[in-house]
Assembly symmetry: C2
Homo-oligomer: 446 residues x 2
């Protein structure tokens, strides 16, 4: 049965107050699937089933932010406070950020003091940092504990901890000393103490680190979770592998869009508004129009030449595109390599030389192809002009395309902004000028 | 100290047989970092330090395939066999696939029967499938075991298992019954039995599933590992979260390259040869040259019109590019949405309508911009021609760009092959024809 169909059945059951029937229907479903189904049910109905679910807080946490906010409006204040208290701390803080002031004012007083402070603390970190990503639901141990004490402590902490597979050893000031895996605990002797079992110093990140770097650290060291410390080396949270995977995917989408000339966009493509799509795309397109004033001017400068040799016009789009396409390829390779860390800034010069060689090979191949076509349409002079132009255009396109990401990076922009449209507009003008300049040297004016 | 510097110091120590000095130098380093350093040391030297490292098999497994193969040549057969036996089963199978026949023939007989069969089994699965990705080092339990028995079993299996945080409950035929988390075991009462503790049926994949789907399942359900079963529902392996993260990253890189008009490429961009780069890029570029024969023909058809109105040429590159750029944006959005599963095939029609609306808004804006420029260079007729052409070109570009990924998908190709260069070449011809056709209706022949 599809999620849509099940949502329909559940809606009816809820309307008829048959909550047990509904609960039987969803028995055994995973929270993420339940969330998917819930998002197809009217909020006014959904909340009444949601709060009867065994893992209601987990299910609620899986819902999209906008649906969470809609549901929050439906819940009676007390029930909402209970639900929110049960949520994972990182999801709870994210929800809080999405609520309007009125909703916040209604929610906060209904929460326990500790939860209130936790929300305020987590919500205060800047978006995109480790602090904004981390959870405060982690398990801690003391260095002096032995294995039996540690296991007992973990049993006590398990209900509230995102993971107990990594536990963090801290001192009296909550400074991070080391990490102990549950695997090590299970294999150790009962009387062994944590300071002999723990890995120290542990791999960690700082609250101010970019969330992308946190994800990279988790991926590089194959971690289940990574501890996050503040400027005083005090343990303040953890980021788990599943959150890291989401971050990596979002960052990839972001780079993907930028390289295609679409500005950063959040939300499911099916749901985003036409207005948003328009705003995210219009910038580069209009920029190109004005960037093109230069190529237009270039063409105007060679007006008589063109008038006398209309054959030149046949190949204008091709030569202009070739530079842009070769450049986009170079930029694509560099942008991704910079994003994955395969390549760093200081590699630019060494890569530039190799890129130039590749460009000459590519340009040469294309020169052969285009001059063959040119000879058919025009004569051997045209063929020669086309071949030379193609070589130069491709070479310049590649050099621009591979350098732009580095330049943008150096200037503090995201290298992924070296988008196909940007490179096209940059290569257009140069392509036109090169082509017509070379032509003017070899072809007579009418 | 940088990894390069450390590698230099270690090389000297090894040459002078000072292995203890070397081992002290690398004490406390993580395996992945050690592997990074090892890859900067001459294989002839590196292997002698490597086999003295505490986690030598883990470090070796982190090395790039080509370096693994080089080192394999240096190791005495017996030492290599010992090292390979200690490797994680999935990494071991991957290494085996990279060895040449001679190396394989040398290695296999030196391995224990069980390892030999394990290698043969894992290496037999097709690349890109769950089978080729999975590890056979997983922990299993019996449904009748109680918690104390289960914990004892896990202690025994731990040294060889990739993870003991998820253990898989199987029957006498090794059919997968359920999954038990170590967390649940720690919290349960000693006499509780597995069939009451296990989650059943567990989320799982089949050996023949695409590795991308395995990664998606792990991400969706926030799993530490996912069990892989064969056609008889027999448990044959697991895929862990860290491998899933690598797969997701590789697939993203792959799509990224394809969208930029670069064919699938493996290996670090810094290391790949110029020849490979050339081969991976030349296809789309040359294709474009011949695709452009059409736009050239189109221009030839309108030769007199152009000769009589050279002003048209000024805007030719711009109009041609605009369609391609708008189209690339649409394709970029669709390709990524299809890859992340945000959008599925049946969404095509509903998205097409919305895309057309966005295209009209974008085209309208750009029409205003270009007609302003056109009015300056030409007259109001030229401005009108440019505005109308821009609207049509952008509209068609967007429709092609957003539809192409779906078409390719339907035809069994990777939607990411709807690359910027491909769309550019498709939009070129149409753009030229639309522009010159509209112009021919409004502008007089000389």
């Amino acid at each position: 049965m599809s999620h849509h169909e099940l949502a329909l059945i559940l809606s009816n059951a809820i309307e008829q107050q048959q909550f047990n029937t509904a609960l039987i229907q969803v028995k055994g479903l995973r929270p993420v699937d339940l969330a998917d189904i819930m998002s197809h049910i009217e909020p006014a109905l959904a909340w009444r089933l949601l709060e009867r679910l065994p893992h209601r807080a987990t299910v609620y946490a899986y819902l999209d932010a906008d649906i969470q906010v809609q549901l929050a409006r439906e819940f009676p204040r007390a029930n909402l406070a209970r639900l929110v208290s049960e949520m994972p701390s990182d999801e709870r803080a994210d929800l809080y950020k999405c609520l309007d002031q009125e909703q916040r004012d209604a929610l906060l007083p209904a929460l326990a003091q500790a939860k209130r402070e936790d929300i305020r603390k987590l919500a205060a970190y800047e978006e995109g940092t480790a602090g904004a990503l981390m959870s405060s639901d982690y398990a801690t141990l003391e260095a002096s504990m032995n294995v039996s004490e540690a296991l007992a402590a973990l049993r006590a902490e398990a209900p509230d901890a995102e993971t107990i597979y990594h536990a963090y050893v801290i001192d009296a000031e909550r400074k991070l000393l080391g990490v102990v895996s549950l695997r090590a605990l299970i294999l150790a002797l009962p009387e062994q103490q944590m300071h002999s079992l723990m890995v120290s110093p542990p791999i960690h990140c700082r609250v101010t680190d970019d969330q992308e770097d946190v994800a990279k650290a988790i991926a590089r060291y194959d971690l289940i979770a990574i501890p996050i410390i503040n400027e005083n080396n005090v343990l303040v949270g953890i980021v788990t592998h599943d959150d890291a995977m989401d971050v990596a995917s979002d960052e990839a989408t972001d780079d993907f869009h930028k390289s295609g000339g679409v500005s950063t966009m959040v939300g499911n493509l099916k749901d985003v508004s036409i207005g948003l799509l328009y705003r995210k795309r219009v910038f580069w397109l209009v920029l190109l129009v004005f960037g093109n004033l230069f190529s237009g001017a270039g063409i105007a400068h060679f007006e008589e030449l063109i008038a006398a040799n209309i054959v030149l016009v046949f190949f204008l789009p091709l030569l202009v595109d070739s530079g842009g396409n070769a450049g986009s390829q170079s930029a694509t390779l560099m942008v991704r390599a910079l994003a994955t860390g395969e390549v760093v800034m200081r590699d630019w010069f060494s890569l530039l030389g190799r890129e130039a060689l590749v460009a000459l090979c590519l340009g040469g191949t294309m020169a052969v192809a285009i001059s063959a076509v040119g000879y058919m349409r025009g004569d051997e002079v045209v063929a020669l002009v086309l071949a030379m132009s193609m070589m130069c255009v491709v070479l310049i396109g590649c050099v621009i395309g591979m350098s732009l990401p580095f330049v943008l990076n150096r200037l503090g922009f995201d290298p992924a902004s070296a988008s196909a449209p940007l490179i096209t507009s940059v290569c257009d003008a140069s392509g036109v000028l090169i082509y017509l300049f070379i032509a003017s040297r070899f072809l007579a004016l009418g």
